[in-house]
Amino acid sequence: MLTYIVRRIFYSVPVLVIASFLVFWGIRTTYDPTAKLRTSRDAARVIAQRRHELGLDKSIVSQWWTWFTSFLHGNLGVSDRTNGDVWKMITHALWPSLQLMFFGIGFALVLAIAVGVYSAVKQYSVGDYLFTGVSYIGIAMPTFLFGLLAIALVVTLPVTWFHLNQPILYSVGLHSTGQSGFNLDYLRHLALPVLTLTVQSVAVWSRFQRASMLDVLNADYVRTARAKGVPKRKVIFGHAFRNALIPLVTVVALDSAFLVGGLVITEQIFSIGGMGRLFLEALSGGDAPVLLAWFLVVAVFVIVFNLIADLMYSVLDPRIRVS
């Protein structure tokens, strides 16, 4: 097990290194850190001097190498925009995002599995058609549009119509001012962002769970179990369910990068100061050091997430041994 984890991490290093170089190249050639010096007096000389200080007169490969090695030493540099320490900015932004991700993936998994199993067991029932219809709309719904509609219909509309003092669910931040910790106020803030983040995932994952559950339910060993007289409920949950989860693990792992994209949208709509907001602020402010660190941290997250998914296989199916 441990050797497997170590080897997987070892394999992902070249991917990470190449990705970091491509990102570095893309961002370095997009943003000119000396752009604001263009209006200064004697611009040509000032810019040339600044470029020399920043090492921009060297080749792109050696620039990248300098940045990459200092990254490995835990030095992510200083933000172009706020002059703050990039590492501090990232760790600060990571916490709200991790909360959203944790509750989002948990919520989406539970809902998608429940809906998928129900639809498969009751195939072609009214409930199955209902869930199918809803999931088609969910798949077609762009994340940001769902967020906007959710705010309009769940927050604004009831407040206007029923003259409420405060909305049932909030649409700004993760806590009211002065509040913190895990309480009702937190849940009322969390509900809409989590829903917005996961609406597409729930729709797609539930379809996947339905298809894989149907495959398993039609397998020979399930028919054998039924023929032996094992009660239907026991066959569904004892024999079929666990095997039907395996394909879903792959899909969830592949979608982890997509979810980070959803985080950017969700945090912007619901004004949550996490990684997504940090990305947007860095992008519109031309803050190259923050962007570079952001991409690398996200890539590491996705790789770790995929590793966890791989380990899940062996939990779900003891025949699959990781070695």
Partner: protein
Amino acid sequence: MTVIPESDIAGSQTELELAPGAEPVARTNWQLFRRRFFRHKLALASMVVLFVLIVVCFGAAWIAPFPKNETNLLIVPGGPSAHHWFGTNEAGQDMLTQVLYGGQISLKIGLAVAFFSTVVGVVVGAIAGFFGGWIDQGLSRLTDLFLIVPELAILGVAIQRLGRSDNAFIFVLAALGWMYIARVVRGQVLSIREKEFIEAARASGASGTRIIVRHILPNCIGPIMVNATLAIAAAVIAETTLTYLGLGLQPPATSWGILLNQAEGAVTSTSQFYLVFFPGLFLILTVLAVNFLGDDLRDAFDPQSHH
């Protein structure tokens, strides 16, 4: 995101019928009818919706009730009325007109991206699958690389770099999108090239190019068409999302993304909800119609399917 082949269900059905002595799944006529009816009606309706959307948006110059971007500061911004069906915005622009002209850009991006990414994807995928070698290796490694970074983030950076225009969108989205289609085509080609009829073609002296063009690609048309339709939806969503976030197109250009971006404040007031509703409705209609179409194409091209 990942898409599920609906035909999986049909596949297991065939398996049951082939198994000797196996009991076929009992399904009433009503259930079978409901299933078929539901699917075909939807596909037909999607075709009509898409066609109408394309006609009204690209014919906006003749259909739209007001000239593009015409501002009339004398009219009070307000909801739908007999004169302004979709209402008017803060600048006094007629929303129906703006939504139609906005659709021109959004749909143009969707259709163009689907076209270019399909063409490039099919060529690269076919070569990689048929000849293997470094192109195949390169394709696999390249797609691995893009799996670990969110597409939205790459798009965001690339659009800032290339200038925030509709052509930049088409270029960037196609540059990212072809890889998915190439992977699908590669997989298809890998399985088809081992078939006997390919061997027969080779034995009769057909060149590699001829085998790909005349024998392999016609057999991949199903997955290619399905992915091309899905690429339209993905591109339209990508444009509107980035533009909504303020990273994409900018006024005076008009797109559904721009209209939704301008309407952002409207969600906190019930009286302005229509500013979000109409562009959003057109956007969802487009994506839904394209998705249904893709789904039905998948069934129609699948010989295993029983619909």
